[in-house]
C-alpha cells in the first residue's frame, strides 16, 4: 500500500543546531505509528518539520504522494494534516465550543462544521457537558481530549499527536490511549510521539525509535516491545514492569540514605 506520509532523508534543526539527521519513515493510511525516543532526540522537531513550522534542510516530506516540503503550515493543514501540540496549547479563556470551532477554521461549510461538532461531542461526551466552560477550567485529561477533538474538527486525514499522556493520571492515560485506538478504528491515521513508550507501543501498529536525530530501530510495535535494546533505553530495562523500577528506586533511596549517614 502507498504510504500516506513519507519522510525521505529529512534533516532539519534550529539555528545552527542540527536536530534531525536524514530521517526516513512512513505512515500508511489506517495505521497508528509510534515515534519514541529520549528527550532532545528530535521527536517534536520531526512533527514541527512535517507541519512546515521548521524549515527543511535536506530531504523531502511527501503527503499522499505530493511533496509538502516547501508548503506553508496553513496549506499543510488544509491538505489534511492536523497536529495536537505538546502541552495542548488550547485557547484557555475561550469556551470548549469556541476552541473546537477554531479547529474548523479552514473549513467553509457551516452545516458540515456543525455536524463535526456534534460528532466530537458524541466521541467525547464530557466535552459536550462542558461546552460553555472556558478551556482553562478543564482538568488535564479533559484538556487533552479537547485538543484531540479540536484537531479532528479540521477533518484531518492524518493526525500528529505530541505527547498525549503528558501530565495525566494513570487512569486518564489509559482512557486517552483508548480514544486514540478508537480514532484509528474509525479509519483515522495517527503518528504519535510519546515518552510513555510502553503505552504508545501497546496501541501502535508500528514504531520507530529516534536517537540523537537518527532512526535507530523500526518495526512492528510488538517486536519493538520485545527488543532488548529498546527495553533498556526506554522501557526501564528488561524487568521493566512497574514494580521492577519501583523496587530499584526504593533500593537506591535506601543506599543513598545509608551512605549519607556514613558520611556525616
Amino acid at each position: 500500500m502507498k504510504p500516506l506520509l513519507e519522510l525521505q532523508g529529512v534533516s532539519s534543526g534550529y539555528g545552527r543546531i542540527r536536530v534531525l539527521d536524514k530521517v526516513t519513515l512512513d505512515v500508511k493510511a489506517g495505521e497508528i505509528v509510534a515515534l519514541i525516543g529520549a528527550n532532545g532526540a528530535g521527536k517534536s522537531t520531526l512533527l514541527n518539520t512535517v507541519m512546515g513550522m521548521i524549515a527543511l534542510w535536506a530531504g523531502d516530506v511527501r503527503f499522499d504522494g505530493r511533496s509538502i516540503a516547501r508548503v506553508s503550515t496553513a496549506a499543510i493543514v488544509g491538505a489534511g494534516i492536523a497536529q495536537v501540540p505538546e502541552r495542548r496549547q488550547l485557547f484557555g479563556t475561550m469556551t470548549v465550543e469556541e476552541n473546537l470551532r477554531l479547529g474548523a477554521y479552514t473549513r467553509n461549510d457551516r452545516a458540515g462544521v456543525a455536524a463535526s461538532l456534534e460528532e466530537q461531542f458524541g466521541q467525547f461526551p464530557i466535552l459536550g457537558e462542558r461546552r460553555t466552560q472556558s478551556a482553562q477550567t478543564l482538568s488535564g485529561g479533559e484538556q487533552q481530549m479537547l485538543a484531540i477533538a479540536r484537531a479532528m474538527m479540521s477533518r484531518p486525514r492524518l493526525m500528529l499527536l505530541d505527547e498525549p499522556s503528558l501530565g495525566l493520571a494513570p487512569l486518564m492515560v489509559a482512557r486517552i490511549f483508548q480514544q486514540i485506538t478508537s480514532l484509528r478504528d474509525a479509519g483515522g491515521t495517527i503518528l504519535v510521539v510519546e515518552q510513555n513508550a510502553r503505552a504508545a507501543l501497546d496501541i501502535a501498529d508500528r514504531g520507530y525509535v529516534l536517537e540523537n536525530g537518527k532512526i535507530t530501530a523500526e518495526g512492528e510495535a510488538a517486536a519493538l516491545l520485545d527488543n532488548a535494546v529498546v527495553q533498556d533505553a526506554y522501557l526501564g530495562g528488561s524487568g521493566g514492569s512497574v514494580r521492577g523500577m519501583e523496587q530499584r528506586i526504593r533500593a537506591r533511596r535506601r543506599e543513598i540514605m545509608a551512605s549519607m549517614e556514613r558520611r556525616s
Binding site: 543546531i17 528527550n39 494513570p170 519501583e246 528506586i249 533511596r253
Partner: protein
Amino acid sequence: MRGLAARKTTLALIAFLVLVGGYPLLFRNSYEIGVGITAGALAIGAVGFVLLLGYAHQLAAGQPAFCMIGGYTSGILCVKFGWDPMATLLLGALLSMAIAYPIAAPMLKLRGFVLVMGSLAFQLILVVVAFELPFTGGAMGTYGIPRFAIFGFTLQSDVAFYFVVWAFVLATIAIGLNIDRSRIGRALKAIAISEMTAGSVGMNTVKHKVQMFVVSAGMASVSGSLFVHFLRAVDPTVFGFVFSLNLVIAVIIGGLMSIWGGAVGAAIVTALREGLRGLSLPMWETVIMGALTAVVLIAFQRGFAGWISDRFDRLTGARGGKPPSVTEPQPTALPRLADAPQAGTPLLDVSSAKRSFGSLRAVDDVSFTVEAGSITALIGPNGAGKTTLLHLVGGYQPLDSGTIKFAGKPIELLLPNRIAELGIGRTFQNLQLFDNMTVLENVMCGRYRLQTSGILAISAKLPRVRRDENDVRRVARDCLKFVGLQGAENLMANELSFGHMRLVEIARALALQPTLLLMDEPASGLNDTETERLAELIAQIAALGITVLLVEHDMRVVMGLADKVVVMHHGKKIADGPPDRIRAEPAVVAAYLGTEAYETAA
C-alpha cells in the same frame, strides 16, 4: 559567559572612548560640538529609559517630565539664586527621585497603555505648572542660564563641556551595567518573564520596578539639567513632543535591553536629526525618523546594540553550535543542610485547608503533615486539587479558610516571595525557566533571597557586591554539578532539551538552599530511563536534609521514593499513609490507580 560579557564590555568601552575622544578632533566647529553635547545629554536620558522600559518593562512615558524637573531646577537656582550649576544638577536629580518615589508604586500599578496615559498625564501637569508658576518664567521660560560649572570651576569651552557630558554618560552606563549584572538585574529580567516564577525564588516584584522608576527619573533629571546648560535657557517646550519622540526612538534604535544601546541610539538619532535638518525639509524630518524606527523595529528586534552583540557572538562562535555535554550528577557537590530541622518532626502542617473557585471546591478541608527529612508524595486524578494545594502552600493563591504552618509558624497569609525567603523552594509542572538568561544565571536567580546588596551598593559596585556575586556564581555552579549539567552553564535556558530544562529548574530551586522543596510533576515528559535518573536525584536531594513534597503521577517514582503518600480526589483527602498501605486502599485504587491500568502494567 562571564568571560564573554567582560570581553564585550571591554570592547564596547574601547569603542566608546575612541568615538567620544575622536569626535571633537574631526568635528571642530561650535555647531558640531553642540551636536555632540546634545547627543550626550540625550544618551543619559535614554540609558535611564532603557532601565525603565527594557528592564523594568514599564511603558512609562513620563521621562521628559523628570527632564523638566531637572532642567527647571538647574535653570531657576542658577539664574535667580546664583547657585553652582553642578550643585543644581545634583539637587535636581535628588528632587526628581524624591518626587518619583512616592508616585512610582501607584503609577506602576497601571499597566501597558493605561500606564502610558497615566505618565503622559503627569507630564502634562508639569507643563501646565511650568506655564503658571510665578517663578518659572511662564511661556517665556527662564533664560540667561550660565555655562556649566563644577563647584566653582566654570567650563569655558564647549569642548570641555562636551567631555563632561560624556563623562556623565559613561557614569550612567556604568550604573546601568552594574545593575544589569546584579541580583536586581536578574530579578528584573526574571520578573519580565514571569512574576510568579520570580516570586518562587523570593524576588520582590514591586520593589525593583519602583527602584528602576526612581533611578531612571534621576538620570532623566541629569539629562535635563545638562540640556538647559547647553541651551542656556529653559521653557515649557524644550522637553516637549519632539524631545519625547527622540528619546523613544533612541531607545528603540539602540536596543531596549541594552544599556550601551541607549547611548548608541541617542548618538544615531541626534546625527540623523541634524543630518536631515541640513536638507532643510522640516516635514520630511519626522517622516524619515518614523520610517527608520519602523524599519529598526522590524529588522533588528534587539536594536543596533543587540545586533552588534549578536554579530560578535556569531563571529567568535561564542554561542550555539553544540548541545551541552551532560555530566554525571555529583551528589557531593552540595553540602548537607546545616540547619536541617530534626527529622520526623512536622515541618509543614496543613490544617483544614479550603479553597473554592466559584462553585468548584478545588481544595476541600484538607489536612496533612509533612515530616522533616521525609519525601511525601501527593497523588490523585487530574483535577483533584493537587496543584491548587501546592499553590496554597507556595502562597500563589489565598486560602478561603484553614491554616498552613511551616516550622511552626503560620504562612497562609504570606506572598510567594516571603514564603521563598523562609526557605521553601519549588519547581513547576510546566517548566518555568527565564528564557532571557543563561543556564547559570537562571540558577543564580535561585540565590536571590540569600543576597542582601541594595540598589546603592550595586550601582556603585562596592567590593562586597563583587564578592557576593562571585560566591553566588560558585554556588550556582555547584548546583549544576549536583544535577549533572556542568557543561550547560553558558547556554541560553531555551537552548536546552526539555529534560535538561527540568534539571535547571531543580538546580535553581536548590540554589535557594531550601528546607522544603515543592515539586510539581517532575517526571512528566521524561522517559523511563530519565525518570529513574530523576528519582535518584530526588533521593540525593532528600539525603541533603531537604524535605520534599512531591506531586507526581508516575507511581513507580511515588511508591519507590515516598515515605508517605497523600491521596486527593475531588478536592478531598481520601487517604494518607506509607506507600504499601495506600496501594492496598480500595478507595485509592478505584479513584486513581484503576485496577486494570495499574495491574496490567505491573
